[in-house]
Symmetry: C2
Subunit: 156 residues, 2 copies
């Protein structure tokens, strides 16, 4: 099984979704040791979950199947370049490699905000469209101190 085969499965998932009312036309597959360990399609609208992008769904499925929060050694195949949420999810999951078909520009042409979100995420907090206010810094930092002092903490 090669990259084309697994990416074709991700694209097939995106095609199934495209003609449904379940969510956006996106599909993703997580592969480890040569086999599919999780897959998903976008379920934002039908599951009432703005985080249910194909990559997030596939990562959550893979982690549930393998009983771990760490997908080191895995490859993700996605029908479209991940949005910043999904890219960071891939990084947090410690996935090794990504294979994709469409670009953020393709997604933008179909009405999705991925490209604009990439611009927003790259800006300093106070330059973004999302208003932000910072408060209670010292109170907030106490949690990090307590974490560092906790012998049972599990780093990730």
């Amino acid at each position: 099984m090669d990259d084309e085969t697994f990416l074709s499965r991700a694209i097939a998932l995106s095609m199934e979704n495209a003609s449904s009312a379940r969510g956006g036309p996106f599909g993703a597959v997580v592969v480890k040791d040569g086999r599919v360990v999780g897959e998903g399609a976008n379920r934002v609208t039908d599951s009432h979950d703005p985080t249910a992008h194909a990559e997030v769904v596939a990562i959550r499925a893979a982690c549930a199947a393998l009983g771990t929060f760490d997908l080191e050694g895995a490859v993700i195949y996605t029908s479209c370049e991940p949005c910043p949420m999904c890219l960071a999810a891939i990084l947090w999951a410690r996935i090794d490699r990504m294979v994709y078909a469409c670009s953020r520009e393709d997604a933008a042409a179909a009405g999705f905000d991925d490209a604009w979100f990439y611009e927003q995420v790259a800006k300093p907090i106070d330059a973004r469209a999302l208003p932000a206010r910072r408060l209670l810094e010292e109170d907030g930092r106490r949690a990090f101190q307590a974490w560092l002092e906790n012998p049972d903490r599990v780093p990730y």
Copy 2:
């Protein structure tokens, strides 16, 4: 109820987590029309879900409670500046405003990769630490075409 009150609740959730083995020391609260509609703490390690950051957990809870994928009109209170995954989740959820306590630098000092992920997300695909390969562009684009031609599609 003011910003300090709701942010204090998010910080309290982060403190509870900090002395547990459930996940990282992060908490978040989503407020709409002056009341809490969803809250969450980080559950990455105990739920085997690398996407279970406090903000994502709180957004999913709020959307489930309200039966919608759109949190326009809501405010998110988070114990720490969101990572790129959570920031993009906030943007996808169309949340109006963000109030936060700690910064990405505070998180980095406690061993978390948020600041490095911000750098990675801002880079062009081929300049990132995550290897990426692009294939089957034309096949992938067919899903966007099918979506645009689908009269039942639900934009988000």
